[in-house]
Symmetry: C2
Subunit: 190 residues, 2 copies
């Protein structure tokens, strides 16, 4: 059952933009992150939510998409995310591993999204200075990542990686993600 | 349902040591990590599995436990983990965010463990040099963390943090974890 959620939880980048996501749904997702593990239980992460079209549009302008798809500048109008969760690191809290916390939080949020029929993508290619101004983020908080969310409008398939791990999109618009095989990532301990 | 898994997924540090965990269970858990998101799909993480008592004992000697519990040196014989997953970063792969990948992988593995009636804890306080020798880890691989696993033999409860976020253990041996409230971690965006 978790296996199903994890295989369904692909990085989706095209959405039914007009299918809205409520703020209370976003709060439920952040609550999953809140209840997850945090290094030394420091809990340095803070969250900004956006689910209104006008706010979403302003955030969208500060995001970079899918580095391996050179000819694709990102989702076009109509296929953009219906919501965002911006994740900050409160440096005043001095966590030993904020990035590990970020990974844990993202996984909780995205698995929760998939369970609700949503999907999303973690974006780290950001115009951080502009985002900081737009969202009025105090200096003490570092912008770590943005999770884009929506009802997915694309098919993503997992494949076994030969050597190249770059994801790619075929002529039908299906997104392919090569994953290294289990034999390659497990080391023996004798 | 995911909410239930996440609330059950506490950091457990005492286990029924003689309740074994099979290597195939560990492989299933690593497979959940394998199928999870990875920054730029680089997949730099490698995994070493240990489920045999003699190997476990050698790993145990290189772990530090629960920094906030000053009077507790870690689980005593009989309550130690029944298995370990050691997670490495293959620096030859040059991921932009190996620690985020680590967080995602740990969350997938631990949620999978909880679903199977197991539990665990992410440990980063490690005697890295000794572990490297013991496990014969090539220079190119950085030891990131060890996940300790077993059938939990303790009760862990979540509380709402007032100010202090240090976890603590009461006289009954119940482990208390204060989590910051939702209002504290969500910022407004107007």
């Amino acid at each position: 059952m978790l296996y199903e959620l994890i295989t369904k939880n692909r990085s989706y980048r095209r959405f039914y933009q007009d299918k809205a996501i409520s703020e209370s749904t976003l709060k439920n997702l952040v609550n999953l992150a809140r209840l997850s593990a945090s290094a030394a239980n420091k809990q340095p992460l803070k969250f900004i939510l956006s689910s209104e079209p006008e706010k979403n549009a302003r955030i969208f302008d500060n995001l970079a998409w899918a580095a391996y798809l050179k000819d694709w500048p990102g989702p076009e109008e109509g296929e953009r995310p219906a919501a965002y969760i911006i994740i900050l690191n409160d440096t005043g809290i001095s966590s030993p591993y904020p990035q590990v916390d970020l990974g844990i939080a993202c996984q909780s949020i995205l698995l929760g999204a998939v369970e609700k029929g949503l999907g999303g993508c973690i974006l780290a290619g950001l115009k951080r200075k502009k985002l900081r101004e737009l969202l009025n983020i105090p200096e003490q908080h570092e912008i770590m990542a943005v999770i884009a969310l929506g009802h997915p409008k694309e098919t993503v398939v997992i494949e076994t990686a030969d050597k190249d791990i770059k994801y790619w999109r075929d002529t039908e618009g299906v997104h392919h993600v090569p994953k290294r095989p289990l034999e390659e990532i497990i080391f023996k301990f004798d």
